[in-house]
Each structure stands twice: as C-alpha cells, then as structure tokens.
Amino acid sequence: MSAGGARAGGAPPADVRADAVVRTPVSGVRLSTGGRINRAQPLAFLFEGRALAGYEGDTLASALLANGVRLIGRSFKYHRPRGFLASGVEEPNGLLTLGTGARRTPNVPATTTELYDGLICERQNGWPSVDFDLMSINGLLTSLFEAGFYYKTFMGPRRGSWMFYEPFIRRAAGLGRATHSVDPDRYETGHAFTDILVIGSGPAGLAAARAAGRSGCRVTLVEQDFLLGGSLLAAPANGPDEDLRRSLEAEVVSLPNVTIFRRTTVVGLYDGQTAVLVERHDHERPDPAKGAAREVVITLRARAIIHAEGAIERPLVFGDNDRPGVMLASAVRTYLNRYSLALGRRILIATNNDSAWVTAIDLATAGARVTLADERPTIHASLEETARRAGIDVRVATHLVRAHGGRAVQAAELRALDASTTQRIDCDLIGMSAGWSPTVHLTSHTGVRPVYDGGIRAMVPGPWPPGVTGAGAVTGAGVVASRTRSDPLADGHAAGTAAAQWVGALGNTGEPVIATDVTWTECWAKPAQNRAKAHGKAFVDFQNDVTTDDVVLAHEEGYESLEHLKRYTTLGMGTDQGKTSNFAAAQLMSELRDIDVSNAGATTYRPPYTPVSVGALAGRHIDAHFRPTRRTPMHDWHLANGVTMIDAGPWVRPWFYAWAGRDVATAYVAEMNLVRTGVGISDISSLGKIELQGPDVAEFLDRIYVNNFASLPVGKGRYGVMLNDDGIVLDDGTTARFSESTYFMTTTTAQAGEVMSRLEFLLQTAWTNLRVQVVSVTDRWAGMSIAGPLSRKALMLALPDIDLSNEALAHMGVCEHEIDGMPVRVLRLSFSGELAYEVYVPADRGTAMWESILERASPLGIRPYGLEALASLRIEKGHVAGLELDHRTTLEDLGLGKLASRKKAFVGRELREREELQSPDRWSLIGLECLDPGARLRGGAILFSKDDPIEGHGRGYITSVTWSTVLQKTIALALYSGGLQHEGQEIVCAYPLRNERVRARIVSPIFIDPSGERLRA
C-alpha cells in the first residue's frame, strides 16, 4: 500500500444498487408504516459482503437493526459482544469500518451515518471475526486486566522487557484498522460570518432561530443531523410533536436571512466567538474528479451565539449493562418513532426519571409487552395511571440489578428497594435511563467551566460570557422540585430575542410559538441514587471497558481526582469522549470519597465535539499545495531549458542545468568552471530586496549595519552585515545608493522577511524621528548575476547603450538606466570572486532580459548556472552564507570583525561585547584543504586536532564543502576553535556516520584571488 504514484481518484464504486438486492423485510423488526423514512426510496448497501437494504431516512445503525443485525462489535479490552447503545453521537459501541481500499475509514459511528446507496461496511475488533472472536478470552481474565494493570507488570525480567510485550498490546489496542493509501477524496475549507449562530435545531433552537430571524439580522442555524427537530424526532411521526416540528421548520426555512446547515457539526468554539463547522457530504458520494468535496470545514465568526444542543441521556449502571439489546430509553423511542423499528417484543424499561415513561407508553401503544421499573418510590399519579392504562407492568421503587444474556439480552433481574431477593423477568430489550446530562461541551470550549446543579443532579453551563446564551435542555431548564414543565419554545424565543437585541437588530421578533398539545418530557426530577453492589460487570464507560470495579480500584489506590481517575482508568477518553460516562464516574467517585459531587471537580471539555477527519482540517493544502511555492520570473524559462530545481525555503530555484551534466555532482563543477574561465548567468531573483527612501536613510543604514554607510556615495554599493540586538550576526547583504535619498538593499533569501520587519519595527517604534520609508520590492524586480572574466564583455554586448567600462562602473559601482522605457539597474557586485554584475529589471520583463543577454552574449559561450554552483563559487571565495550564518556566530567568528566600525554605534554593539563572545577559543571561520587523495570532505564532519582522541564534541565542524576549480580537490569552510590561529595545521575530519576519517589542512578561507584582482578587473 505505497503512497507513491498518482492519486487513485474517480467516483465511488457503483457496484451496489438497490435494484440488484432482493428486498426481504426482516419480519418483526421494521413496522409496515410510520417513522420518518421514505419507503418509496429503498437503498442497498453491503455489510461484510452481504447485500442488505434500507430506506432513505435510515442511518446505517437503523438499517442494520432493521436487518436483524444486533451484534455490531466487540469491546475494546474484554472483547465482549456489543450492540448499539444509542441512536446519536453519544454511541460508544457501534463503530464500523466504512469503505474499501483507499477509502477505508475505520471507527465510523453507524448511528450518525446517513445511509446511502452503495455504502460498504464491516464490523471491527474481532479476530477472526466479530461473530467468533477468539480475543473474547480476555473476558475471562478481566480481574487480571483491571484498570492500570499494565503499570504494574511487563517490567521484567530485564530492562527493555516492555519492548517484548508491547507489540501484543499495540496489536490489541486500537479499534479499527486504517489504510496508508493516499486519500482520493477532496476536502474544502470556507469562511463565513453571521450575526447570530444557533447551535442545534431542536424545539429550543428552532424557536430561537425563528425569533432571531424575524429580527432581520443574519442568522445561521447549524444542525448535525440530516433532519431538523432534535428531540422532536423521537416523538411519533404522526402527532402534535411532528406538526410542531414541521411548522417550525417551514417558518425558519422561509426566512431569507436565515442560513441553515444540515449534516453539519459545530465541532469547536474558539476565542472571539469563532465556531468551526464540519459539513458532511458522504451521503452524496461526492466525486473528487468533479471537484466535489467529502467534507467542508468552515470557520464561522459570529457576533452572538445561542446554545441549543440539548441533553444526552445517561445509562444506568448495573451488572452486565453492556449486553446487546440494552439501550438508552430515548434511543429505543427514536428507533421506534423515527425509524419504525420494533426492536423487542418483551421490553423492560428501567429508569429513575419521568422521561423514560414516554418511551414505555409509546412501545406499549405499538403493541409490545412492557415492564417498567422505576427506582423512585413515588411517581406522579397521572403518569402512573396513563402507563397502567396502556397495559404496562409498572413497578415502582424497583431497580435493575443485572442483565442476562450473552450475545443478546434475554432476561433481567430486578430488586425492590427494601427487598433482599431479586426477581427475574424475561426480556429481549432493555431501555434504560439514569437522567440527562446537558450537552455542555461547546459551552466550555472557551474556558467557562460547567457548574454542578444539585437540583437536577447535572452539570450545566457556567456563566454566559457577553454575547452568548442558551436555550432548552442544554441549560438544564425547567427544573426541579416542583413539577413545572420546561418550555423550550418560550426559552428559545427569549434567547433569540435577547441575541437580536445584543447585535442591534431592529425587527420585531413577535410572540413565541405555543404548542398546547405537545407534552414536554419532564426529565429533571432529581434521580434517585442506588449503588447496590452489582453482580457481573457494571460498565461506566462502554467504549473503553471501564467498570465500577475500576473506579473503586482507582479510589483504593488514591487516584481520586477526576483527572487522575480518568487517566488511570482511561474513562472518557474514547471516541465518544465520555458523553455517556463522565457523570456516572463523577457520581461514583464522589460516593466513594464521601464528598458532594459538586466538589469532585470537572474534566475539561476540548474540541472537537465529535471527531474530525485530519484531511478535512488540511483541506486543499495537500500534496503540491501543502505550502505556497514562490517562483522567480524566469521559472518557466528554466523548466524549458533543462533545469533541475531545488527548494530554498518557500522558493523553487535552479539547482543545476542539463547542459553541464546529468547529476548535480558533475554539473556544478562544469558550471563553476564556466564562471571561473568564461561567463555564466544565474537567477538571483529570490534575494530579498528593499527600497529605502528619505533624507535620513544614510543615518538609518549607519545604525543598522556594523560598518559605515553614512559615507556611501551615490553610484556605489557596499557589503554590509547587520547584527541582532544580542550581537549575533543576523544577515548580510549589499546596499547600493542610487540617488541622494534612494537606496536599494539586498538581503539573503532566507532572512528577507525578518529583516524587512525589523527595519519597519525600528522606524515605527524607537526611531520615529528618522525620515525613512521602506518598501519590500523583492517581487518587483527580477535579478540575475552575470559572472566571470568575460562578464563585462558579455554585458556590453547585451546592454550596448550602457557604459560598462571599468572607469564608468568600477568595482562596487551601481547605475540605473532606462531602456525602451524600462528601468534597468546594474550593480557591479560579486559573490563568486570573479568580475561580476547583477542586473535588475521589472519582474515582468525578467525573462525577456534574461533571454536577451543569453542571445547577445552567446558568442562568448555564456550559459546559465544554478544554486549549487553559486554556493560553491562563494565557498571558494570564503564568502559566508546561510550555513555559516547559523544564528550562533559573531562577526569575529566569521572573520568579519574588522568590518565593525569603531567610530559609530550600531545595533548589537553593546551586547556583542559580552565576555563569552570574545573568547579566543570560539569556533571561527577557517578554510580546509583535503589532504587524503581521493577522499571527500563532507558538511557536518566534526573536526579534531591531529593529536586529539576522536571522541566528544571536537573542536569544530565543516559547514560547507565544494570541489575547488583552483586546487582541483575538495575544500571546505568550517568553524574551528581558535580559527586561523591554527593556519597551516593538519587536522582530522571525523564522519562516524559513514565510518570516515579524513585529514585536512587549515588554510585561509579565501581560496581564490585573495587580493581581489579579478574583482577589480
């Protein structure tokens, strides 16, 4: 599965079609009518090679359940058989692998995957299969595999023994298996702005969006599901709840200033009321070849935010509460009313609050035999009455102790509050509810911690920051001791109105919707607590297989704070991020510690709320577009003329040309030779170029360069070095003076941005009295260097109208001309040590000038040369560059100490005099000549004196290496302790990575023309 080669793209497989599948409804599960599925639109999908069918409106979970698939995975550690616990994002067990080949995607929650035609899936974490999993033997060894067991063993018998055990642990860890292939799908990013963001389209969210929308401002409503309605979708598809849902939706959709995102999750809230949205398109099977994206990540900036994310139901903690067929009561209701599934015939509903009663009543109405066990001793009379009339076997003051069954629940043990014995009842489905936890995650992403509300026994959002509010179940609304019902419609309306006022919208939000025939679920009654010792494993975190025994163990060992508990047991650290486990854990630990839950602490919720593809976050910045590519103006010419390019930071620059050789090692020598004996031309456009203008530029330059620039005459350039404030060399370059008040500075490619910002910083903060303007002109000018003994002749041929005689343009001279209305700057500067000129023209004329020079000077044999030769030529000249300017070296280290003026101040002067920067033992610049015939000097070799033992840090290292055209052997620049004080000495260059030791002699770093005759020719 190599990632090399072209991306495997193309459309998703079209081999599974609805009409090819024999649709046999599995009797007894899918009801013949009802639900919010479209029976006119069947969909076919592949489940572990079997063709199955579902309907538009199904999730993968509901479709699997409809087809009788109950065993949907094996748990992480104990490999216990698992079924779906829930019907939404809080699902911990139902993770499947979707897709094949390069589209293989593990750990996809089936409960939030919209079914589409052609979907391919398989279950995870069983070997050889989920149905027959040999790893379930772990389940027999649970007492060995308690939380944290790996901290207590695997240490012996020797050091490093963990390396023996680890591969087994690693193979057992993880849920699904990922592919290494390149992802064929496409991901996009976007930015958006809105006045009011409403998160969640349940009744409160819809009411808020309606009110805010009526005010006239921009409203964005974001819903993670493919249908709007939130908790209303759990109610029967025919009835007052559905009527309300449809009318709210219709009204909100009709408002033109309201933008609705479906299938979009707000995964995180960040500073400045910025929301990150992930919009999903998998159900459309988007074709990347047509530019369709699988996911879109949108950064949305809002002026006000209304949280309406609702609440998530809590599982009960009892023995073997993880059996397939044990589900959240609200999920059972959703599967019934939304997906038209009767998941059981003999159903037990176990609860400690009112909300599950509605589920029981719906199930009984649909014809199931229902037993309802409620832990509370007293229930509201009318509720109990309604339930009994529906034929439900009601048992108050009764709690669920244990579920029985292996691959599917078969029976349950109940115990009355004061009884000592249990009763066993047969059941094939258990719906459980231990109360509700407001979905506070997003509310706490920007640092406001949730607070514990003892009245409803739940964490609720902390104080709302300005511009932020909430409505509905997420606030824990509609509390407590009295039987008042919360009204999310009024709540949402108030929030929408308040937000509209906050952003200054003028429209009238009107009156809230009143729905008299809708029964709001009272879920906030204070749930009873019951922690009778459970038989069998009582799970707190289903995905990570954390049981009450593990929590007890953590307490026993002193890992009591929630942070420690979580890390020690891994509770809450699965892909569901503890949505169904955090509260139970906090509650249990508080009991063990004998403290109030409010003192137990809270875990910090972090983005993303649900997992986000790394590829979606990368968007289009992949492959060749990972980072921008900066090209010089002559880029295309180079490509057309046999260049091999190399990266230089963000730039792409010519490395060497085909005319000179087939690989860099031969080519650069030929290019060097050409420059030393004839004339070559090189593209230097990437160097930083800064234009400085103003009466005080000379003074300014004098301050920032170590050498004198105040005296630079018009028509001359000067090499300069700048230090950082700490006295270390920052950059070198040349600055030329074109007129009284116009200067042209060049910097190294790498430091261009840094230098520019520094100049601007000094001028705008400390030296505001200097009359200097600076502008970056790097992209404005194309630059080329014409170098070699024949360079003057070459340029005279190319630019006949410019006087380039030695008298007119002496060494370091500069001039500016106009040719056919085009400005041309010529600077007689040399990096290579040969007679040389730099020519600058406007960038859009760069290729024309380049070609013109090559053509007109062709009788002299001019050819292009690249970066490798450029670098090598300067090494021979002893000219320091990036590898020597390593941000640690001082002027003296680089042999440039004499450059520093003694007469004037310059940036860095004071701190460069710090004592350790003066030490004579510092590693300073030397040249090296190889003494071993046929051997090579290498960059990165460590240097030792002849008598040193070859170990430790040595006395220096080689920075740059080249073949010397002059000496016909390899030479190098290096930094060596004491530098040229040891000129003439023989040293050793050690390169243990290649088992090499090479002898070399310390020589002057200026290998060529030390007196500069060639430069002045």
Binding site: D271, G447, T765, A905, E910, L911, E913
Partner: protein
C-alpha cells in the same frame, strides 16, 4: 479566533500579523546604552498572566506595527493603536 483590531484595517485574524512581545520595555537610545540596559531590554521579561501590552505587525495588510492590549489569561482584546504614537493611545 483571536482577532486583532488594526487601526487602519479593522478587526483581522491574528494570522495576518507578526508578534513581537512586550511593548512596555523602552529600547535604550541608540548608542547610549550600557550592556546592562541592553541585557534587560533584550532578554528579561515581566511575562504577566493578565493584562499585557504587546507589539503586533500587520504583515499581511498595512505593515504597520501596533500596540495591543490583551489579557494573556483570557485572550480578551482591548484597544490598539499605532506603535509610532507611543506607549499610550
């Protein structure tokens, strides 16, 4: 998204800016400072957990250096002004 109010360009994402830290330390005047003053200026910081005055440059916009009030413990942003205007707005 931390957003910075540029005096010229308005409220912009922080990614358009370059950060240069504490803006309250006066730079010793050119050529007059002693090593100790320069050492303090270059190397030593208050580094507060709370209100902070700091330099940012709008490199992807007007290229002006500005001083920004920001609370380093909450990321709440206050006023900003052009650096050339000095220590206060």
């Amino acid at each position: 998204m931390l957003r910075i109010p540029c005096p010229h360009c308005g409220l912009r994402d922080y990614t358009e800016f370059r950060y240069a830290g504490d803006a309250t330390k006066p730079r010793p005047a050119h050529g007059t400072g002693e090593q100790r003053a320069w050492y303090e200026y270059v190397f030593v910081f208050d580094n507060p957990k709370g209100p902070h005055l700091e330099y940012w440059q709008h490199v992807e916009g007007c290229r002006q250096w500005l001083v920004l009030e920001r609370d380093t413990s909450t990321n709440t942003v206050g006023q900003s002004w052009l650096a050339r205007q000095g220590a206060k707005p």
